[in-house]
């Protein structure tokens, strides 16, 4: 399914509320003022991207491998791990061999 020519005309504008929802999904804190500034920028970019909808791709497969290549599989051998110091070396907060984060209530 591609965008058809109509889609570009009926496309939903990227508004402040959309930007806030997307920023929430992307876990980027954003103020109303920032969202208000970014919305027209994104809307402009998305409007330009809409031209892709002109292309008839009904008989085209999406690209999977840019250069023909087979997915190699590795052998089931333990070759890694046992490097806790390296794993924790850059942690903002590490205690008792764990990474520490604000308490999560599930």
């Amino acid at each position: 399914m591609g965008l058809d020519a109509d889609a570009s005309r009926t496309r939903m504008a990227v508004d402040t509320a959309t930007v806030k929802r997307i920023a929430g999904l992307a876990r980027i804190a954003i103020t109303d003022e920032e969202a208000g500034r970014i919305a027209p920028e994104l809307d402009n970019i998305m409007g330009w991207i809409e031209q892709l909808g002109e292309v008839d791709t009904s008989a085209v497969a999406p690209m999977t491998a840019v250069i023909p290549n087979m997915l190699r599989l590795r052998d089931d051998v333990v070759t890694d791990g046992g490097v806790r110091e390296a794993v924790l070396a850059n942690a903002p907060q590490a205690e008792h061999g764990f990474f520490a984060v604000p308490k999560v209530i599930e």
Binding site: L25, T57, T64
Partner: protein, 494 residues
Amino acid sequence: MTDLTDLTVAGLRDGFRAGDFTAREAAEAFNTAVAGAKALNAFIVETPEHALAAADAADAARAAGEAPKPLAGVPIGMKDLFATKGVQTTAASHILEGFTPTYESTVSQKLWDAGAGMLGKLNLDQFAMGSSNETSFFGNVISPWRRKDGGNAALTPGGSSGGSASAIAARLCPAATGTDTGGSIRQPAAFVGISGIKPTYGRCSRWGTVAFASSLDQAGPMARDVTDCAIMLEAMSGFDPKDATSLDLPVPAWEAGLSPDMTGKRIGIPKEYRVDGMPAEIEALWQQGIEWMRDAGAEIVEVSLPHTKYALPAYYIVAPAEASSNLARYDGVRFGQRELPEGANLQDMYAATRAAGFGDEVKRRILIGTYVLSAGFYDAYYTQAQKVRTLIAQDFEKAWAVCDLLLTPTAPSAAFALGEKQADPLAMYLNDVFTVPASLAGLPAMSVPGGLDGAGLPLGLQVIGRPLDEQGVLNAGLAIEQRAGFSARAEKWW
């Protein structure tokens, strides 16, 4: 003795081997140049001790009569997108400020194994997102070039490998690593009058390189001439079992295979690259390039790549989509900066950390990527873009039936002033119009300097080749290089 910083990679390597100078002398000369060029802001971290250690090892090996390594005696710059063990690696971001990898990227390791030393970590657009090096958390990189018009406007070195470009053009290092996702090696190379090649996707391992867009990211060398690019690329390439997309192929002897003779080669000129508003000087240089190719024995054929105009919008779906996911790991839990406001829960911490840690352009692309992948939009945007990508690759496939290589301008303009395009993200994106199609198709492509525009700024020509035909690309680049005789260099002001 000549100024060692004027030597190319080949010149340094050969001079060292001949005993004209020691590796330490060469390293010291470049360390001094780096230390004296703060005004360019090309380096985020300087590592003179690393360069000296590699030089001393080379000198000791030579004294012991050992066969010299391929890059013994050559200090280089490392784009700060490659993880370097024990040396801060930031991708020019705040979120990775202070991040010190416990591991070495495959590409950098290969260079050290080849005997090269590291002068420092080069500045870049944040997470390699940008075409002007204005998105770095560590400040803009300044091009050593200035317009002849007497104005002293600071110019962009291009991006994202702007630090690499600026440092090579200013003779701070003879060569550097770059990465190219949509033109990040070729466009800056063109802007500062140097050469740079993006090899076929899969030639250089992506392991240990901070990811921007996995299906597009490819490392490659930037250097003063084509021969140096060949030497560097040989050292950087090769199969890596740690990267599932790495090509399991031997590395050709590109340097030994260099030949400027284009006899029997058909050079395609894609008509869709004649875009509206392209400066006449660039059109003229392109014509000149065609003449040079003919002079070198090539046959010129006009070809059509009909989906070219859709390459950029497809790229601005695929690259941000992949980036939005690739950058999810920067969350303040395991490494990098953490922002923890009073009373914040885990999800608040993520949002605050990422808001403070990413710059505007990175956020913009994460938002675009998140948007195009979000519920209900996946097929309309991402799937459609990947289908268009197939069509773009097929355009190239068809072209290869009638030609061996393609010749185009590298960028639609010469270097612009810093700040000039910052206000309009879209105008900035359009700068990649000639480089993005080859990236989408994974093809080898290089930029070589062709001449100067009326303002005295370098312009580049791009050669695009078939998959795995880096040799053909390098050879065509060499043919241009020999005919262009490009010897201009930025006058030192820094």
